[in-house]
Amino acid sequence: MATIPVMGVVAIVVFAILRLTPGDPAAIIAGDAATTEQLHQIRIQMGLDKPLYVQFILWAGQIVRGDLGISLISGVPVAQMIADRIGPTLALSTTIIVFSILVAVPLGVIAAWRQGTLLDRSTSAFSVLGFSMPVFVFGYLLILLFSIELRWLPVQGYRPPSEGFWPFLSRLILPTLALGTAYIALITRITRTSVLEVMGEDYIRTARAKGLKENAVLIHHALRNASVPIVTIIGVGITHLIGGVVVTESVFNLPGLGRLVVEAVLARDYPVIQGLILLFSFAYILINLLVDVLYTVLDPRIRY
């Protein structure tokens, strides 16, 4: 239930900030040759000449009825625009999260287990590199190698799964590698540190003394007890993905929500920006809720 007041506050703040930002959707619609008079006529037609509080009441009324409104620029309902564009973002986010977790958690555990070895130092070096390299630089390098030189993968675009598994997957591999590397670096570092912290605990020594295999010690005792900070960083990573996909979607031309946000902001398409930010804030709240629930599963001592 706490979600509703949070989103209410978000709605008010976003509405106020947008209207205080200079810019005019009428100018986008009318184009460069429009006169002051023509812009004024379009503003009237879009209802932008009404007092701000009236505009807010009208918009809030729509939101309460579950209607996100209509794009000022294209005239398409915001809900439809989001539905059209959510596929690439969901697909990319999912592949990045799955890929990052599958690579980063084992890598972090092994680095901790083999602390001080060449493997550990290589993992640390990779983490620093992966986290430092801008996504677009890595993205362009991947395109140069895999698309232009080798011609293995397409440069850009998105195909929904309905058009075939490989067309769908082949267009996600490079963006996943580009953005996933930073997340792998982040999760690997946290996993390594967390596992290292618990490796010196008494229960690890006890588990080894009981004669448990090293795999079992690492997975069931070390990793499980180190998992709370790892889950936290994965949760934080997912929420930050929303920002990360903006660049990735542009470099790989994925028509997702990240690009839609940028387009809507540049065009001052108020209903679209407002609808998207409400959606993102809902996603943030949901992810935080999921992380909190996971804490209680992973560590029964945690109670809310």
């Binding site: 200079p22 184009g31 294209s74 140069l144 080798l150 075939g164 031309n253 065009a267």
Partner: protein, 531 residues
């Protein structure tokens, strides 16, 4: 960097297997012949009357047809009209439509549709407004014939209906054309050579057109927007790519066929590869210019305007803009070089930078150091370099300059503000536009000087307006030229608009495409694609 080791031996075998399995997975029956193009910007507004955006106008050419066209010699030619007749007194134009014209929904095109379309367009287009200032009657004669009656003989009836550039007079069904001109139309039904596929339209992402199989092209060869609009492909898809490097890579990888506006700095990537062509299709190109705000100091003073005009040199701006002399030329003609009304008046002081003369003029004008606020859009590569060069040149001449950076959207709001520069207004803003849209004193809206009703900057010079009015009601070609030359002189003398030269934007495409027309607008008829 070489990746040859990856192309050999086992790696290559794995790739071949992967590629084969991929092709088996995606193999489809005979594919439609499709041109995939990255246009200058994403299409969001579909109504070419409401929007003056270039991309909306190109969309208009895809799905709508025009009553008249303009050929490469600037001559007006019939397009939807089979013919027109002018009464002996030169005041009544009778247009007869071609047989067999159909809207995309199958209904026949009628004269009443054309009359409604012309009326709606005439409310907002600068040429349309001039036309309707002269029109005394516009009426349907029968389903294929209508008349326009003007109060005095004029060249404007034909030249306005045939205009290229922003807000072309496209014909729409009457039901769409009856929509108020400030309100976007709800459907995209035209009678043009392509059909708009509404179900596949994703604003700002993808636009799909299919060949209009019912379209009957004219028999004469295509030239600009005149002649036969023969479509040789099944589909044209416009894909929006926000990143220019990605678009270039996609072209090189064969994923797209055509980039309308190729960035100058990425040209070597395409020019170095076989199978691709870089070409300037709009030979007239664009003009870049800046505009003073006449409402506030210091540019409400003619002498200070002249000082600024001496301070800024065209070559410096053009070099910063294109970085390649192949794609620019100095030009002071406010109706464009190589056009009917081209004049080089002002070339002596507009082309070279002369900061010494500018300083003398500033002294003479007793310039008090009032800061000059210049608007600088950072997110538009064809408008971003100019303000920086102008600011630098003005500083050298002794102006106090406040260069304010912002996004293009903020600029479009800011330039409409008539407030003093210190309170959110401005003194100078630079932009550009296609030459084809400024080829005479009527269609070049930057030379309108009707004060508060003029374009941003709001110059007020009744003498220039009177010349424009005279141009509208003159039919004699020699007299029209004389009037245009006088407009050029007065506009430059008063600093109504300051031309900074012309530049061309190259188009890059895969050589699988052939028959691409040279034209001021990107046109997709006549284009063939090899399989």
């Amino acid at each position: 960097m070489s990746f040859d080791w990856l192309k050999r031996g086992p790696v290559r075998a794995v790739c071949a297997a992967l590629t084969l399995s991929t092709s088996m997975l995606v193999a489809a029956p005979a594919e439609a012949q499709t041109i995939t193009a990255v246009m200058s910007s994403g299409l969001r507004v579909l109504d070419p009357v409401v929007s003056s955006a270039a991309i909306t106008n190109v969309h208009g050419y895809m799905i709508y047809d025009t009553l008249l066209g303009t050929d490469a010699q600037f001559k007006v030619q019939p397009q939807m009209a089979e013919r027109w007749e002018i009464s002996p007194d030169g005041k009544t134009y009778t247009f007869t439509l071609r047989d067999g014209l159909k809207w995309h929904d199958g209904a026949p095109v009628k004269a009443e549709d054309c009359v409604a379309s012309i009326k709606r367009w005439g409310e907002v287009d600068i040429m349309g407004q001039v036309l309707f200032g002269l029109v005394t009657d516009i009426k349907v004669v029968d389903d294929q014939t209508f008349q326009i009656v003007v109060r005095t003989p004029t060249d404007v009836v034909l030249s306005s209906l045939a205009k290229i550039g922003t807000r072309t007079a496209f014909m729409m069904p009457k039901r769409a054309a009856e929509t108020p001109s400030s309100q976007p139309i709800k459907e995209s039904i035209g009678s043009g050579p392509f059909k708009f596929i509404t179900a596949e339209f994703r604003p700002g992402v993808r636009v799909v057109y299919e060949k209009n199989k019912d379209y009957v092209p004219r028999k004469d060869p295509a030239s600009w927007t005149a002649g036969g609009k023969v479509v040789h492909v099944d589909r044209v898809e416009w894909v929006t790519m926000p990143d220019e490097l990605t678009a270039t890579n996609a072209l090189l990888n064969g994923e797209i066929d055509y980039i309308e506006n190729m960035p100058y700095d990425l040209l070597p990537m395409v020019e170095a590869k076989d199978g691709f062509k870089v070409e300037v299709l709009d030979k007239l190109g664009l003009w870049t210019y800046y505009r003073f705000n006449f409402l506030h100091p210091p540019f409400n003073d003619r002498l200070i305007r002249r000082a600024a005009m001496h301070a800024v040199g065209q070559e410096d701006i053009l070099k910063a803009l294109t970085g390649n002399p192949k794609y620019h030329r100095t030009c002071t003609a406010i109706f464009g070089c190589d056009t009917v009304y081209a004049s080089n008046y002002g070339a002596d002081f507009l082309i070279p930078a002369n900061p010494e003369r500018a300083r003398e003029l500033l002294k003479e004008a007793k310039y008090d150091g009032t800061p000059v606020v210049i608007l600088h859009p950072t997110d538009n590569r064809t408008v971003s370099p100019q303000p920086v060069v102008i600011a630098n040149a003005l500083r050298k001449a002794g102006f106090t300059v406040n260069l304010q950076s912002m996004d293009w959207q903020t600029l479009t709001t800011r330039r409409a503000s008539k407030r003093p520069p210190a309170e959110g207004g401005w003194n100078i803003h630079a932009t550009n536009g296609p030459i084809v849209g400024i080829t005479d004193p009527l269609r070049n809206q930057s030379v309108a000087t009707n004060g508060e009703r003029a374009w941003f900057g709001w110059p007020d010079f009744p003498g220039i307006q009177a010349l424009r009015d005279k141009f509208a009601v003159t039919a004699d070609p020699a007299e029209l030229k004389a009037i245009a030359a006088e407009v050029q002189k007065q506009v430059i003398d008063e600093g109504v608009v300051v031309p900074n030269g012309q530049f061309m934007i190259p188009t890059a495409y895969n050589t699988k495409l052939s028959g691409i027309l040279e034209s001021p607008a990107a046109l997709f008829w006549n284009v063939k694609k090899a399989r």
